[in-house]
């Protein structure tokens, strides 16, 4: 079903907002992850990991799902389609991959938050919280989302074999 221009603009606005919001949230998460990895202040490190878990569940995951769903609406509701253009397909794969990894990573964030919430007499930072895991994951996520953003803006040319075949069939049908 092709959306009307007004509806298409609305859907596009929601998609851009959620996708760019996701990028911004990952940048914020990365700042927390770097602070958690490098700070010498144990209280700050613990607070950073607790904030990362909350951010993961209540900011990153909702934005990721919103970006995926609005992207599906945007592609299926316009002539771009979901499997017609390589750049749309590439964005879909990036989005699905990043969302799945994020979903799996919430377990790890839960583990770190549990360690950070533990009350101990020691003022030292627990060794588990010195893991570069959060920095690695958020850095990779930021890279992938920036690639997706570049694809969305530049829309590099190229249609899939599926769409080439469909177009040939349509041309053959339209000829007398």
């Amino acid at each position: 079903m092709i959306m009307t221009p007004r509806l298409r603009k609305l859907a596009l606005t929601v998609h851009v907002t959620s996708s760019v919001g996701w990028v911004g949230a990952v940048v914020g998460f990365l700042a927390l992850a770097v602070a958690g990895l490098t700070s010498q202040d144990a209280q700050l490190v613990r607070a950073a990991y607790l904030a990362m878990e909350l951010t993961g569940w209540f900011v990153l995951l909702p934005l990721a799902v919103a970006s995926l769903l609005t992207g599906l609406v945007q592609s299926l509701g316009t002539k771009w389609g979901l499997f017609r253009h390589y750049w749309v397909l590439a964005k879909l794969l990036i989005n699905v991959f990043a969302t799945i990894v994020l979903l799996l990573y919430t377990q790890t964030l839960g583990f770190f938050a549990d360690v950070a919430a533990e009350t101990t007499s020691s003022s030292a930072v627990p060794s588990e919280l010195r893991s570069p895991s959060a920095v690695l994951h958020s850095g990779l996520a930021l890279f992938l989302l920036l690639v997706a953003t570049v694809l969305a803006v530049y829309k590099p040319r190229g249609v899939t074999p599926y769409w080439q075949r469909k177009q040939r069939e349509q041309r053959a049908l339209s000829q007398p």
Binding site: F111, E128, S131
Partner: protein, 88 residues
């Protein structure tokens, strides 16, 4: 629609006519574009690296995967197991 009209439409909004030769598809070659091949190769390398890391780590990709070292006296995180689950 003449060429000038098409160009003006594309400047205002590049999305309405993706399949009519306007915008990203102008003069697109029939074969697979180079950027798609590069993208595919990079994605394949990443997936292979990910599988190798999983195999080397014994299939584990949990909280302990990126930990700097083992900690015999402390926590021993495992994949998919929360810290609270390890307490007696």
């Amino acid at each position: 629609m003449n060429n000038l009209s098409r160009k003006l439409c594309f400047v205002v909004d590049p999305t309405p006519f993706p399949d009519t030769g306007t915008g990203a598809d102008r003069g697109a070659p029939a074969g697979t574009p180079r950027w798609v091949k590069v993208f595919g190769i990079v994605a394949l390398v990443v997936v292979v690296l990910f599988i190798v890391v999983l195999l080397v780590g014994g299939g584990e990709h949990g909280p302990g995967r990126h930990s700097p070292s083992s900690d015999p006296g402390g926590h021993t995180p495992t994949a998919g197991v929360s810290h609270g689950d390890q307490q007696p």
